[in-house]
């Protein structure tokens, strides 16, 4: 109580993924430090007391955005503000750029990283839901090699991911799709706060679609829709039906209502994007 300072801890700053993993494997009670925007406040309150920090900010290889033929690969160290501003991301995933711009304030976006946000897995955060909506794949490395986990399987519960002890997230592969259009909307109690509820809506070329909600339960909630109605009343009914089945943990009445409102607002963005 009344604390300002974290416990004392050992500090390493490796410059390759391999040495970071080595550290992670050998140091007891070690944690990775990325942007520090979630971890450091927790440490200052002494809610988190790691014995060792592995600062990955010196690993140059994690800081890139790479556009490939069928996907865009985002390094774990790409900052929120970079996602918000990057021309290739704006071009291919405007919805991702928009959502990243809603995270906290500029100072937080300049330091906070994609990897940090995804591993932290706060159910009210934008990027995990965006990755689920975009059907991204996480590339995870451990001392025994790497594996790939689809976003929908990566987020397993309240601030919990499929990451095993000793593993780290190295990059995120976001598939390019020419046929889908996305929209995003969120509601925060105050500008700059974590979202209270948010929604990503996808319309695919074949009239099917999907909605991904966040802030409603303990993880992003992805709901595919075999047909996304063009008729407003039918769509409203669809949102209501899907929202009614959500397992909302806290303040369910308002969150369900907002889930419907925000899905529709996100859908309107889809329509605008199509015109634009």
């Amino acid at each position: 109580m009344g604390r300002l300072k974290p416990n004392s801890f050992a500090y390493y700053r490796p410059n390759s993924v391999a040495s970071a993993l080595q550290c992670l494997a050998t140091q007891p009670d070690a944690k990775i430090l990325a942007g520090g925007q979630s971890l450091v406040p927790a440490m200052n309150f002494r809610l988190s007391r790691p014995a060792c920090l592995i600062d990955i900010n010196g690993i140059e290889a994690l800081a890139h955005v790479e556009v490939c033929a069928d996907k865009v690969v985002l390094g774990a160290l790409v900052h929120h503000q970079q996602i918000h501003e990057h021309p290739s991301i704006r071009q291919h995933f405007p919805v991702l750029a928009e959502a990243a711009g809603e995270i906290g304030h500029l100072a937080i976006r300049n330091r906070g990283t994609l990897g940090g946000s995804l591993v932290h897995a706060d159910p009210a955060s934008e990027l995990p839901a965006a990755m689920v909506a975009l059907r991204a794949v996480m590339e995870v490395a451990g001392v025994d090699g790497t594996r790939r986990i689809p976003a929908a399987e990566f987020f397993v519960g309240w601030m919990t991911t499929a990451l095993d002890t000793g593993e780290m997230l190295v990059s995120v592969h976001v598939p390019l799709s020419s046929s889908s259009v996305y929209g995003f909307a969120e509601f925060a109690r105050r500008p700059g706060d974590f979202a209270y509820v948010g929604a990503f809506v996808e319309r695919a070329a074949n009239e099917s679609g999907a909605v991904t909600w966040f802030g409603v339960s303990d993880k992003p909630e992805y709901r595919p829709m075999s047909a996304l109605p063009r008729d407003a009343a039918a769509r409203q009914a669809e949102w209501q039906q899907l929202a009614a089945k959500l397992e909302v943990l806290d303040e369910p009445r308002m969150r369900r209502k907002l889930a419907v409102v925000l899905a529709e607002r996100a859908y309107q963005k889809v329509e605008e994007a199509k015109i634009g």
């Binding site: 109580m1 009344g2 604390r3 300002l4 300072k5 500008p191 009445r253 308002m254």
Partner: protein
């Protein structure tokens, strides 16, 4: 020379403050400095069975650990310094560290002093305390129930005091055509100045001098109280508050922490520093508001208001903080009739102990609470009789020709032109047009509303005789000393203690104006009990009306004496001297003159002074105002409510304030802007929440929603100027008006927007959830 009074001058102090060159308490560095950290109770109410600090004492770098028992006989208790008369107030003992029992989460249990702050904080972890948890509550209504746990032996029923004032008998309400009744909860707020509290103490064993650098709004009051607590004579205690980064009332009180730091410095013979973390600040620095009010407002169908009465349960927290009892009583109830000619008014106030952080003054202190309930009630009354709320106000505002006006509680409002401010605000807002537009937008399903507040507030605290009569254990006059140096440069010593309000600028304006010298030639010194003879500090919108007036009088005394010397130099009679454009000259012969600087030099050389005139040039004044000053005005807010989310958007905000003469419009506007933001914080965002066990659930900025600049439109502000007739500057006070007026203004606007849903009241803060919830309950889908 064009006068600098009334000019839009930028604040002299800002370059220093905004480039990180201020000198705050935590910046103080001393050789051999060590650091204190305080172990605080995690329980709202518990018996302390045992404190074992042996492991902490053995830690490397730990100099000492003290518990409540270690202080007994060495450190006095923390006093309460406002004792409202005719109440049964129980000033229960408040030890600097709890002995046997803790009464709120944050109550100090042990003090650690170590060679670094980190070590001091680490040591807290290894102190083991056995608690026997007791039942308790942070809610004043529950605390008053017969079976509630008792906090203090001397306060049965947890009643700290019961106090009544005014006269509003039943038959007033029985005969009135309409009585509206409402329960209003004014939530607890947590003041958050940018700079947290901090103290550094240094004790000189050989001289017995204790110096305490502290975040204080009133260093001399702190000297007075700490002298008693520490048992060190007053002339051996020096309090220094150089730059203070905001206070809003939370730095008035005398806290245990500053006393502990001084105690440790004396015990250890080392300078000791303590600075609270923000988390600690949330828990232990005084909170504000927290009233449960049951109100009745009576009037007739023609709109005339005839009586108001209120029963208040004021949450005092676990102990009575320094000025706390005066806040929900004197500062609240006496202004209850507000700017209206309401003939009957009465208040029945219970101060209640609960297991929560002590409350005390918070920007506006009592007056926002009174204004909020009155202005909400006026709107409910208007709705009840089907009259436009602005018309109800217009009908009841005290007419201009009735000043000075005695309100129903006996206050004498000094001057006012309430209708002028109202009309100006309505014109700025385009009120009539808005009402037409509103009906149109309502038909489109849009929820827009306008809210109005007309207010008057007690500023310029205050005549010392009245201070005594209302139980304030101090004076409320102010001291000032204007020291002119041989070269004509001036150092001013003021007992006011500005901490962000800009008085280094406005006070320099007052002096520069009267001495006809450049602003740059005037230095304002404040916040040091060794440099300033006496002072009662800065709060209650008193610095300019009282401290500034003291300064005006002292400066006049300089001019008077300089005139005598100038007359002697010019070899003319004193009455033939005119002071103009920085020169003393013979009436009708402007060529025969001496400059102010010529005179100051002669005053110091003293080679040839007129008979009976002493050398040097200084003016002093101890100014005691004859009355309070009463600022007033009208605020209007336009809001739109999102009917899907309950979100309130503040679209326009209009403030017309009258603080008497405006000495610097830029600074006055700045005070209004900050005040509005703070008041809207209460209306829409802020609120301390305790759970059933007395744990503070809103202990960080993540949970406690402070308003930010980006939530607000550009404010539209204006002033009318009705001078105070009784002080030399004609000024009134502007530091608290924004906070007082904006809370009801915005809530009234939201209620107006929600009129189609039949919503009568929503407890503050009006968060999206609550607004949305109220619309659902109201049942009508617009």
């Amino acid at each position: 020379m064009a006068t600098v009074l009334g000019q839009r001058l930028r604040r002299k102090e800002d370059p220093r403050l905004i480039t990180g060159k201020g000198q705050y308490t935590d910046d103080v560095q001393l050789p051999g400095l060590v650091y204190a950290s305080i172990l605080r109770s995690p329980h709202a109410h518990a018996r302390i069975l045992r404190v074992d600090a042996s492991l902490a004492r053995e830690m490397d770098g730990v100099l000492a650990v003290y518990t409540g028992e270690d202080l007994e006989g060495k450190l006095g208790t923390i006093p309460t310094a406002w004792l409202p008369p005719d109440s049964d107030i129980r000033t229960v003992p408040h030890s600097a560290l709890a002995v046997h029992r803790v009464r709120y989460v944050g109550d100090g249990v042990a003090l650690v002093v170590a060679s670094s702050r980190s070590i001091a904080e680490d040591a807290l972890d290894v102190i083991s305390v056995d608690y026997e948890v007791l039942p308790g509550t942070a809610d004043q209504e529950i605390a008053m129930k017969p079976d509630a746990a008792q906090l203090h032996e001397d306060a049965p029923g947890n009643v700290a005091f019961h106090w009544q004032v005014g006269h509003a008998p039943d038959d007033v309400f029985a005969h009135a055509e309409v009585t509206v009744r409402q329960r209003i909860r004014q939530q607890r707020l947590i003041p958050n100045p940018m700079e947290p509290r901090s103290a550094v103490a240094q004790y000189n064993e050989s001289t017995g001098d204790m110096t305490i650098w502290a975040t204080s709004q009133n260093p001399h009051i702190h000297r007075f109280l700490l002298s008693g607590i520490l048992g060190i004579p007053e002339h051996k205690v020096r309090i220094v508050a150089i730059d203070v980064g905001g206070g809003f009332g939370a730095k008035i009180a005398c806290y245990p922490d500053e006393a502990l730091v001084a105690f440790a410095a004396r015990e250890l013979g080392r300078p000791v520093k303590w600075t609270e973390s923000r988390r600690e600040h949330f828990l232990v620095t005084t909170h504000g508001r927290d009233h449960i009010e049951d109100i009745e407002l009576a009037g007739n169908r023609d709109g005339t208001l005839v009586g108001i009465r209120v029963k208040v349960l004021a949450n005092m927290g676990a102990y009575l903080s320094t000025a706390a009892p005066g806040v929900p009583t004197i500062l609240f109830a006496l202004i209850l009739p507000g700017p209206y000619t309401i003939p009957y008014a009465a208040a029945d106030v219970y101060g209640v102990f609960t297991n929560s952080t002590p409350t005390d003054a918070y920007r506006g202190a009592g007056r926002p609470e009174a204004t909020y309930l009155l202005e909400r009630m006026v709107d409910l009354f208007a709705r009840e009789i089907g009259m436009d709320p602005v018309e109800v106000r217009r009908k009841n505002l005290i007419p201009r020709h009735q000043f000075p006006y005695h309100n129903a509680m006996g206050l004498e409002y000094d001057s006012g032109n309430y209708h002028l401010a109202l009309d100006k605000a309505l014109e700025m807002a385009g009120y009539e047009e808005f009402r037409r537009e509103q009906s149109r937008l309502r038909e489109e399903g849009k929820l827009v509303g306008i809210g109005c507040t007309t207010y008057v507030e007690i500023c310029g605290l205050g005549p010392s005789q009245v201070a005594g009569a209302v139980g304030f254990q101090g004076g409320l006059w102010e001291s000032s000393q204007v020291r002119v140096h041989p070269t004509g440069k001036v150092t001013v010593f003021t007992g006011s203690s500005p901490h962000g309000q800009g008085e280094e600028t406005t006070f320099a304006q007052i002096v520069a104006d009267r001495l006809h010298i450049p602003m740059a030639d005037v230095e304002i010194v404040h916040g040091d009990t060794d440099r300033i003879s006496m002072g009662w500090g800065t709060y209650g919108s008193r610095s300019t009306p009282v401290g500034g007036s003291a300064l005006a009088v002292a400066t006049e005394r300089v001019v008077e004496k300089a005139k005598k010397i100038a007359a002697h130099m010019l070899e003319i009679g004193e009455s033939d001297v005119e002071f103009d454009e920085g020169r003393f000259h013979a009436k009708g012969a402007p060529g025969r003159s001496v400059s102010f600087q010529d005179v100051t030099l002669q005053a110091y050389l003293a080679w040839n002074l007129p008979a009976g005139v002493e050398p040097a040039l200084e003016g002093r004044a101890f100014y005691d105002p004859v009355n309070f000053t009463y600022s007033f005005g009208t605020h209007l807010a336009l809001v739109e409510v999102d009917k899907d989310t309950g979100e309130v958007e503040l679209k326009r905000y209009i403030a017309v304030d009258d603080c008497g003469r405006v000495l610097n419009p830029l600074i006055a506007e700045g005070q209004v802007h900050g005040g509005i933001v703070q008041g809207v914080g209460q209306a829409l965002y802020e609120g301390a929440i305790y759970d059933e066990d007395g744990q503070l659930m809103t202990g960080t900025f993540m949970d406690y929603a402070m308003p930010k600049a980006r939530f607000f439109p550009t404010f539209e502000t204006a002033f009318t100027e009705t001078p105070s007739p009784h002080n030399p500057l004609g000024v009134k006070g502007i530091g608290e008006t924004g906070t007082i007026a904006s809370t009801p203004t915005v809530v009234n606007a939201v209620m107006d927007a929600l009129q189609p849903f039949g919503v009568r009241d929503i407890p503050m803060p009006l968060t999206p959830e609550r607004v949305w919830g109220a619309m659902q309950k109201g049942g009508m889908e617009a």
